[in-house]
């Protein structure tokens, strides 16, 4: 049981996809303008990750070695299409906000990376937990980045004004703000890591 829990937990801190593995940065930076968008993207990616990890772990023995990557991509793309259609139907506003980054989950390196590195070698149960952990880790990273950006860039959190009379630094809501925030966060985590060792 503890080992299974470890599979889940490793995606959150030790192998956090965004801050440690540096995977899937494009959507992270592009949609992290508001926390709502960040959570939406996180949930969408988690769903795709879970689905593709489970299916690939199930069919890993029937896929020929040579054509495995195209097979994985088809599975992933199927789940992305499901997500896209669901999002269009149930939350069109979020779909508009995320724009082209929803279909681009297909090329999110986290999903293909986990399929290749984990799901193709492990059991369905472990792959499910791995996918869930990675998805939660990704979502948390998105919430952190988008929280910083929304708070400093617009003076709000989840669309609510937090501090009255706070003059927001508009640049953090811009693309350059995303790059700056992630650069500084990575540096900060490096400092923490260096201190520990």
């Amino acid at each position: 049981m503890k080992r299974l829990f470890g599979e889940f937990l490793k995606g959150i801190i030790r192998e956090n996809p965004t801050f440690v593995l540096l995977l899937g940065l494009c959507p992270t930076l592009a949609v992290s303008v508001t926390v709502i968008n960040g959570i939406g993207m996180g949930i969408a990616a988690t769903f795709v990750l879970l689905g593709s990890n489970i299916i690939i772990a199930m069919i890993k023995n029937t896929i020929p070695e040579r054509v495995r990557i195209p097979c994985y991509i088809v599975v992933i793309a199927t789940f992305v299409t499901i997500t896209e259609l669901l999002m269009k139907a149930y939350s069109p506003a979020l779909n508009r906000a995320l724009g082209i980054y929803v279909p681009l989950i297909v090329v999110n390196c986290i999903v293909l990376g986990r399929a290749e590195a984990y799901a193709s070698k492990n059991s369905v149960k472990n792959s499910f937990l791995d996918g869930l952990g990675m998805g939660v880790g990704f979502t948390l990273a998105l919430i952190l980045i988008s929280g910083i950006r929304e708070f400093l860039g617009a003076g709000k959190l989840m669309g609510q004004t937090i501090v009255k009379g706070f003059e927001p630094a508009f640049v953090l809501g811009m693309p350059s703000g995303a790059l700056l925030v992630i650069g500084l966060l990575l540096g900060f985590f490096n400092v923490l890591k260096n201190r520990k060792t």
Binding site: L22, L23, L25, C26, I73, T81, P103, L180, G183, N190
Partner: protein, 202 residues
């Protein structure tokens, strides 16, 4: 279809909405391969070629296969498959025809399949140049041209970045921000300067 349209596409794809610095597509390769100018150039040229060709191919598929049969929802699957196949095909052709070129591009080509810029520009073309499932006039030329321009924008950002990072090699930077963190901060400053082109918005 006028010259002004093409100029608009050029300026917005290369400067205002630069793939890397404003849309964040292809960021992984941008950070990973921009340490030296030569590999950066090889990667950029490969990306430019693939974005152009895949823009053309995906436009044809969307217009003549998906739209007539009402299969627009298969866009993502069909595009990524075609791009993956195309990249594999190009790799095989280059290996056969020109071994020196293969050594130059070789390891970067397979990476392009999962480069968001390629699928991104294909999806973007469909979003921009199809209105309610109908191709706007001249949309084929716009798509192809946008493919080239996105590639150019990628090349521009890649060359600027690799030039800066080559010089940084000689600088004494704190250990914690070495490599990636500093790379992102530099990209942030570059992105900030590209913001100046926003005045060109049409």
């Amino acid at each position: 279809m006028t010259l002004a349209h093409f100029l608009t596409i050029f300026i917005s794809a290369v400067f205002v909405y630069n793939v890397i610095l404003s849309r964040f597509l292809g960021l992984c390769s941008f950070i990973a391969i921009s340490k030296q100018t030569k590999p950066a150039l090889a990667m950029s040229l490969a990306v430019m070629f693939v974005t152009t060709m895949s823009s053309i191919i995906t436009w044809l598929i969307y217009r003549f296969l998906l739209v007539p049969f009402n299969l627009e929802y298969l866009r993502t699957i069909s595009f990524i498959l075609v791009i993956a196949t195309f990249v594999q095909f190009v790799e095989m052709v280059i290996r056969k025809i020109s071994p020196p070129m293969y050594r130059f591009f070789g390891i970067y080509l397979p990476l392009i399949t999962v480069n968001c810029a390629v699928l991104g520009v294909a999806v973007l073309n469909i979003d921009m140049f199809f209105i309610n499932g109908k191709a706007v006039q001249g949309s084929f030329y716009y798509s192809a041209f946008q493919g080239i321009c996105v590639g150019l924008g990628y090349t521009l950002a890649m060359l600027l970045m690799s030039g800066i990072r080559e010089r940084l090699e000689l600088c004494n930077v704190p250990k914690a921000v070495k490599d990636f963190p500093l790379g992102f901060v530099i990209a942030a400053i570059m992105s900030l300067s590209f913001l100046g082109f926003n005045g060109f918005k049409f």
